[in-house]
Symmetry: C2
Subunit: 470 residues, 2 copies
């Protein structure tokens, strides 16, 4: 087969099951949960195998666009980044990818992959995708079925039907998450877990969408046709996309089509669906404790400890997760970690900002971390990427002192431009129009001391912004 | 009785059982474990009852001298602060207090109290002390025995003998910490817990010390005679005190004297000997969860949560303690909290600074907190008390930028004196001789940004210091 599979990675979701590490402002798929890179970067690396895959399409939303760009640049992978103007369930994203692939090739074969799943055997995963795309090219929608390792109640299952070629089977039925006895029966009957990753002939998918859900595909085709390029992103037309029906691809197509097939994936798969799954995948010591960061266990086994900063000490407990970030600590038995989303709902209701926002804030020019907050002052550590430029701005209620501790800053202050180096500082009085840029080749780090009567992030008037933020 | 009881509070200890809140640099007795004030401040307030007590004597060591002074000033209590030049077990401290009391009054009655115990009924405690001092005045050494509420194995017990007057009994025997069956028998036999607090006729105590342990009392008398006043402190003579035998008052006198009596203390007592005891004493919600700081519990009961800063979320666990400080988190079942000292030993062996040092550092002029540490920079928030003056100093490896965020600083920089106000800054280049003072009436707060190749606290040359630190 010379035709390349067009991989589509969907990474617009914001789950809370891995709180406090995963939050709205930096969700699970962008976090290095296992090793040095994020699950998004892991899957993107696998999908860069040019022997099998074409240029990937990443579907995300505006909030994560610079994170996607940064993470792709960090691993040296190029992709088309498509921004959904409003959040829609998966059918609209699949329709978008289908339409983009068809625009380039009438016979395109597309694979849709989650950004937050992990596979153990990358080579076998790629080979499985290649074989699935051969089946798909015959006009099939091929889901990758995972041979179950235990009677899980957290996944949907796939009942396989008659054989198609060597390894694939037709899908007899997709079934919902079962109770435990049903799950046990499914294992006996040879069902697969539904991994939610699937590979299809684009023309077939479009025809099925047109047949089953014209209210998805019609608006999406219009949104793609009228899409515009903005910086490094393809932005779908908001008015058209907003009219697309909000439905999952499972309900829209998979559970209705007669063209579904299933190909077993033996590559070792996890959806990293909670802290228990993270422990399953993590390296452990002789007592089964998986420790990331500074963690110590006395008289305890099979614990998961993750710490960003603080020293974590656990005494006399087994099978628990202790997740310590700069501003929040979670303690729970791993077996109860499915309740994390309820805890997030509880603290959201109490107005705790840690429910959804990280203390470290990502920006297209870099990032900042609030390191001290008083009644009339705040201190931030700001990091600006080489070439990064903050917006031209002013504040009504605060003055700022900047001390450069690494690199070089080019500061605009009213009508002056001043270059300041490591161990130099500058003062920005209330009301002055200012901008900072990193003209250098290494990251710029500075300490910002804000002094004023109101220190909220909304005391900012953006006069000009190269990243086109409103 | 017109003669006042001379209260002596010993607060030189540094226990680890309440780590990570209690550490060497700021141990248990100085921490507000329950409510707004420390256990040291609580007992000092009780001992200020002028109807019963004379001016208190506080025995501590050099490391805690400014903390003692600060905490006494904060509650408006005056005391004589005596510094032990070297650490010695309790016999030397008791001998010191005895000698100081006798120097003022041949018939002095002295009470020795721990700085880290808590009583529930303050008025009854004071009344008990008054009655004990009446018994002591007859030439007795009166220990306050606590009627046991359960067969504890963590305390020594007192076997009472024949009656002395109305409520006191002679001591038949002091017995060591028992095993559980023995403890149960002790309860049936009417034994008391040994609280370690006792009240005695000073001349009697001195005579007993001379009889049993002349190697304690001889050197101590010399150390008191040759003591010198330094700032607000009485510093015992180091050479003489160093010769005093290192032994506890229990072994030295209590277990040998025929003059011991016991008076029951019904005022509700705890030695706050671990996190389980803190939970016992704390206010709890309807599920028995005691929460200090931002803590949330889902499906859990009878937990102790303390947090200095981070939000702590506990799911599906009962009877545990989660203690979260800025730089360390402890998670343990309350019933296993006696292992905390083993954990501290473990992390000490691994070289973790959090074992013994707090991130916030107390100084005689105020305090500082490291809020950010990089390879070539550190940021501190520094608070200087009104009237506080830092030492005149210089650094070889770092420059400093100071931004005042509250109050007014008087800065000496080489030969200049510069006053800087809120929202003003000053730069101190490497090698310059500098000093900061707070000439104002409110605390001075400033942000210090250090930049340099070496940022250790030992890069400081102190040229002059009003607090006479070496």
């Amino acid at each position: 087969m010379s035709r390349k599979l067009v991989p589509v990675v969907m990474c617009g979701g914001a789950g809370t099951r891995l709180w406090p590490v995963s939050r709205d402002t930096m969700p699970k798929q962008f976090i290095p949960l296992l090793g040095e890179v994020s699950t998004f970067q892991r899957i993107m690396r696998l999908l860069s195998d040019g022997a099998v895959f074409g240029r990937p399409i990443v579907v995300t939303n505006a909030e994560y666009r610079f994170t996607v760009l940064d993470q792709l640049q960090a691993i040296g992978v190029s992709a088309q980044i498509v921004l959904e103007p409003t959040r829609r369930d998966s059918a609209a994203a699949v329709a978008t990818a289908t339409q983009l692939a068809l625009a380039a090739d009438d016979h395109a074969v597309v694979g849709v992959f989650a950004a937050d799943h992990v596979v153990q055997d990358g080579a076998l995963f790629v080979e499985t995708c290649r074989r699935a795309s051969e089946v798909a090219a015959e006009g099939r929608i091929v889901t990758i079925g995972i041979p179950p390792t235990h009677p899980a109640t957290g996944y949907g299952y796939i009942q396989p039907g008659e054989a198609i070629g060597e390894a694939a089977r037709a899908v007899a039925a997709f079934v919902e998450k079962p109770d435990a006895p049903t799950a046990a029966q499914y294992l006996l009957d040879g069902y697969f877990w539904n991994s939610g990753n699937f590979i299809f002939d684009a023309a077939t998918m479009k025809a099925e969408l047109e047949a089953f859900e014209p209210d998805v595909v019609g608006p999406v085709v219009e949104a793609v046709t009228q899409a515009r390029n903005d910086l490094d992103f393809l932005v779908l037309d908001a008015a058209a996309f907003g009219r697309a029906k909000n439905i999952s691809i499972d309900y829209a197509v998979m559970e209705r089509t007669k063209k579904a097939a299933v190909l077993p994936g033996h590559f070792g798969w996890s959806d990293v669906g909670g802290w228990s799954a993270v422990w399953d995948l993590a390296e452990k010591d002789g007592e089964g404790n998986a420790i990331e960061g500074r963690g110590y266990v006395l008289d305890g086994a099979n614990n998961l400890i993750r710490s960003e900063d603080a020293l974590v000490a656990v005494i006399g407990l087994d099978d628990i997760a202790v997740i310590s970030t700069r501003d929040a600590v979670l303690v729970t038995p791993k077996s109860r970690a499915d309740k994390v989303k309820d805890m997030v709902a509880l603290i959201t209701a109490r107005g705790e900002s840690e429910a959804g926002a990280h203390r470290e804030v990502q920006r297209p020019w870099g990032r900042y971390l609030s390191i001290d907050l008083g009644v009339r002052h705040q201190v931030k550590r700001i990091t600006v990427k080489p070439g990064g430029i903050l917006s031209l701005q002013k504040h009504f209620h605060r003055a700022e002192h900047w001390v450069v501790v690494r690199g070089t800053a080019e500061v605009t202050r009213n009508h002056e431009t001043i270059v300041i180096h490591e161990n130099e500082s500058i003062y920005l009085p209330i009301g002055c129009v200012h901008r900072m840029a990193n003209p250098g080749k290494i990251p710029l780090e500075l300490i910002e001391v804000q002094v004023g009567s109101y220190l909220g992030e909304d005391d900012i008037v953006r006069i000009e912004d190269i990243y086109r933020r409103s």
